[in-house]
Structure formats: structure tokens, C-alpha cells
Symmetry: C2
Subunit: 331 residues, 2 copies
């Protein structure tokens, strides 16, 4: 039905081996043959069947990026970094979404187990550390953005503890001592780490930790509003609020705006992620920026390196973050 390498060989009056050689740019083939084959390929509109090729070579040169959903525009820079590193070594990057369903995550990893892709990168996995550890023993898996406790799989991330600590320390340095934290009920490691950082910063400055100053909500803007409302209705409300994501922070700011607080003066906000949308908001949000592109690039480089020769020793790469200071902290 469909045109195969045999048809090309017949058309070009050579063997399939020669066609293959031409297609793969092997050196030891006469110019005449090259011409004949190329002409035949052109004429027949042939494109090689990757299934045959990949089967024979036992490699697909494709890497799967597994993410929760494409909604978080924040992933896009990571993906770009991954693609840059992949293309540089003739790999393609495919993306698939789990919608936070661990079963579906496992289903997608099935593509890896079944050799439909050569490697997989998990961006915020929902599977547990044990499972991933086990799978990574036999398959090329890496993690990015989000580390997992007790997981010795290749991971590229930032130091979220330090990031949270830096953010809160900055608020304290600006004179704030009543600092609220809006975080999530869902305990991703990064949320946990940022909360730890928050507490460490308090301790650094001998500020007692106040249970009421921590609000546990969800990842949505509405939850940010809710959190801010909760905090500001306390008997002694905070003068600064650190949110573990920009989305949440923007919700919090919206609430504050609606209540007439002067943002950056009466009340100060610090977000996390530096999402591209954040500069669309007035007032502009101060935030912690993590190197998305660099993380994506590095995780692919290391993954491919590992695919060639596994190195179980060094597997955690921590990239530097930075503070981006704007209106919401009065900068």
C-alpha cells in the first residue's frame, strides 16, 4: 500500500541496503547511487517508516515530557529549554499531560517502558518516590522543577528552602515582622520546602512562628483571595504576605485591592515563579524567579548523558533562583 524502501530500491535499481546507506548518509556509496536513490525517493515521495527504523535501532530519539497540564503557562519556558537541549542532539521532545492523575502518569510512562520513547522527564510527578525510584532503575527517567524526598532519580530543580528563606528574609529586612504565608494543602515538595524556608527566615530573625499566619488553600487565584481575607481578618493581621505561587499572590492582591489596602505600603506581597502574566497586573508583583529555561535545558542534557552511560552518583542539580522586586513590595 504505502511506499517502502523496497520500492525505492527497485526504482533506483539498487539494493535496499544501498538505499538505506544513502538515506543515512553513510560514506561508502558511489555518487551515482546517491543520485539514483535521491531521484527515486523524490519521485515516489518516500519517507522512511520510523517504526521499522526505530525497532531495528532500538532507539526513537524522542523524549517525553510529562506535565500536569498545559494550563500553567509557567511550564513553557522549561519546555523551551528542554527542546533546545534535545534538538542539539537530534532528539525530539513530546509533551503529554496527566491532569494530576497518577494512574494516567503511569500510563504515559508506559510509552517509555514500551520503547515508544527513549526517556521521560517528570515535571511535578504525582507518583510516589518509591515507585519512581523503582521504575528509574530500569528506565531513563528524570525529574525537573520538583524534587521528591527519598528519591535518588536524576533531578534538576532549585533550592526551594533557600528560595523561601530569601524571599521572607527580604520582607523582614524591609521592616516587616508580621508575615503571612499562603500555601497549598496539596503537599508538593516545593510547597513544603518553601514553607520550611519561611520558618527558617523567621528563626533567623528571632521572630516567633505564628500558626495563624499560615493559610492552606489551593493553587487557584480564588484561594489566594480567600487566604488574604483570612489573614487580614486576624486580630493582628500581617503586614506582608508571601505566597508560594504568583497565581495565588495575584488573588491575594486582588482581595487587598478590593478592600482598599495600599499595596506596597500598607501591605506588601511576594509571589513565586515570575509567570509571564505577572507584569500585566497593576500593581506589579514582586516574586521569586526560578531559571525555567536553564532547568529544562540541563535536565535533558543530563538525561541524555545518563542514557549513554548511567551515573548513579551525582543526580541532584540545584540551580540558582533570584528575587524580582517590583511594586508589590514597594520597590
Amino acid at each position: 500500500m504505502s511506499v517502502t524502501i523496497k520500492d525505492v530500491a527497485k526504482e533506483a535499481n539498487v539494493s535496499v541496503a544501498t538505499v538505506s546507506r544513502v538515506l543515512n548518509k553513510k560514506s561508502n556509496v558511489s555518487e551515482e547511487a546517491v543520485r539514483a536513490v535521491n531521484a527515486a525517493v523524490e519521485k515516489l515521495g518516500y519517507s522512511p517508516n520510523f517504526l521499522g527504523r526505530d525497532l531495528r535501532k532500538s532507539e526513537t530519539r524522542r523524549i517525553l515530557a510529562i506535565i500536569a497540564s498545559t494550563e500553567q503557562s509557567f511550564y513553557s519556558d522549561v519546555i523551551r529549554g528542554m527542546e533546545a537541549a534535545a534538538f542539539a542532539q537530534n532528539y525530539d521532545v513530546l509533551i503529554a499531560t496527566t491532569h494530576d492523575d497518577p494512574n494516567h502518569e503511569m500510563h504515559l510512562l508506559g510509552m517509555l517502558f514500551s520503547r515508544a520513547v527513549d526517556g521521560a522527564v517528570l515535571l511535578g510527578p504525582k507518583l510516589d518516590a518509591n515507585t519512581i525510584n523503582q521504575l528509574a532503575q530500569k528506565h531513563n527517567i528524570a525529574m525537573c522543577l520538583e524534587r521528591l524526598d527519598n528519591c535518588n532519580v536524576l533531578t534538576v530543580t532549585i533550592d526551594n528552602v533557600k528560595a523561601g528563606r530569601d524571599a521572607v528574609n527580604y520582607l523582614i529586612r524591609k521592616g516587616h515582622r508580621k508575615i503571612g504565608l499562603i500555601t497549598t494543602i496539596q503537599r508538593s515538595q516545593s510547597s513544603i520546602d518553601r514553607e520550611i524556608g519561611y520558618k527558617l527566615a523567621l528563626k533567623d530573625n528571632n521572630i516567633p512562628f505564628v500558626e495563624d499566619y499560615v493559610y492552606y488553600g489551593g493553587y487557584e487565584t480564588e484561594q489566594g483571595m480567600r487566604g488574604c481575607e483570612h489573614l487580614m481578618n486576624l486580630p493582628s493581621p500581617p503586614t506582608a504576605i508571601f505566597s508560594i505561587s504568583d497565581i495565588i499572590a495575584i488573588g491575594a492582591m486582588n482581595y487587598a485591592l478590593s478592600k482598599g489596602y495600599r499595596i506596597g505600603k500598607d501591605l506588601v506581597f511576594m509571589g513565586f515563579d515570575n509567570i509571564s502574566y505577572s507584569h500585566m497586573f497593576v500593581p506589579h508583583l514582586s516574586t521569586v524567579e526560578q531559571p525555567c529555561y536553564a532547568q529544562g535545558k540541563l535536565v535533558i542534557e543530563k538525561l541524555i548523558e545518563n542514557m549513554k552511560s548511567p551515573n548513579p552518583d551525582h543526580n541532584l542539580y540545584t540551580l540558582p533562583h533570584s528575587l524580582v522586586l517590583r511594586d508589590s513590595t514597594g520597590d
Copy 2:
């Protein structure tokens, strides 16, 4: 090296054919064999090599969604719809990004030509209609969200002309007669169509078209600000502004806010897309909503249908849009 169906057969003391039958849940196999095979699979940790399987069956049950980038969170609902339809028929959806590079778009389509996927959906292609027409003759290609003029490839979209017309007609019905349009230099068909709709609405109401009321910028927020600035500095500035995307509209609103215009009163805004971020903005943006999920779902259903038996007759599906009215139009 890796465990194959042969190993399983040996372990289970049956032929590879029987193993295959068990794995594919064929009926004509004894319970005893089923047990033995399953035990062997479990014991050896076998998972079938999809390359072998796909090669033999000449199908991968994978569909590729080709998008510009994952930055536009607006795509995420489309993807969800696509996945829902695909999973229902045992297909997986993979995503790949072009970053608006037609060459890369072609490269990704190569996965289709080379049978690494069974079908592809283009969401806003950068290739021209001719090329796509030609490719679609031999391969399973569909388009979603964005139609192409002179392109008879399976397409699911909304009626952007009517959508633009409805939006502007609404503004006129609210009493506005000086209406600005902020659109893009890049001439995607949807932009063109929405502009046509804008002009038709004016004509519907005997309002003369004013060249100066149209600003051509880019897709970014900044361009929206720029556009609004341009329009409001005209000798006779508009009292209502229609933007072909929410991102642009939000930029425009930001400018208006900064200049002290009372949005929804002095100046009215209408966006397009109803991005999920839009409700995070105060004031809330009125916009045209298109059924993203439904479009994604339908395009996959029709694509799979076409893969079974091509139907070149009916290939354009137009889904209904709707107006979402909020603060920015004073609703």
C-alpha cells in the same frame, strides 16, 4: 538484553503466539494458558515493545497535537477536549511545539509521514494552505481553532466573522459609535475574520469605518497598551475598544487604568478568548468565549472517523461562540 515476548513464552511454556493472544485478550485461549502467561509476565516484568507491535499493526494509536507553544494557557482546554475524545477510543494525545517556525512544523509532521503517529492536529499552523492541502491528501491531518482560506482539510473552528460582528454589535447596542479595534499585524485567519466582523457590524449600523480606529500590533500585552495609547490620543478617541484577544485587551485596559479612565463607563472594553486568567483582573473583562473543549473533542472525533473512512465532502465544522459580559462593558 531486554525481556521479550519470546522470554515470556519460554517461561510460560507456550508459544509466542499464545502469549500475544493473552496479551491482546483474544478469546480463544485456555484459562490455563492465560494464568501461565500472566504469571510469566509478572515474574519477568515484561512490557511489550510497541515498536514491534506498531510496526506489525501499522498503527500507533497516538495522535500528535501541534501547537505554537504551551505559553498560551488558552490551548489547555482544547487539549483536554482532544484527550477526552482520544482516550474514549484508546488513543493517546501527544503535544509538540513549533514556536511559529514553519520548518519545525514540517519536521514535526514528519512524525506523521513516518508513521510515528497515526494523525496530527494543527492548532494555528504556520504552513500555507497549499502545502497543507497537499499533505492532507496522503496523511491524516486536521485543523482546530484556526481555519485556513482555500484549505479543504478537516477543520473545527468557530465563525470568527460572526463572533467579531456579534461583539461589536453588542458595543453598538450599548450606544457606542466610536469603536476602536486592536488587532495584530500577523495575519492569522482568525484575526482577519474578526476584523471583517468588526467592519460588518459597523456597516450593519451605518457607522462609517474609520481607518485610524484600527491599530495593528502584536499578540503581547504591551502591544495592547500601545494600541490603547494610540487610540486614545486620536483627536476624536473611541469610547469602546474591541481587541482580538484577551491578552491584548488586558494590556489596553492597563493603559486606560493608568490614565484614569473609568473602565465600563468612560471607556468600554471587549476581549476575545475568555482566558482563565481574565477573571483575575479587576475590572473583569467582557469577552467572546469560544468552546475550546468542544472544539478539541470534535476535531479528534472527526479525525479518527476520517482515519477509518475518509469523507472529503464535509470537512468544516463551525461551533457556536458566546458573549461573556462583565465589568469592562459596564455589565
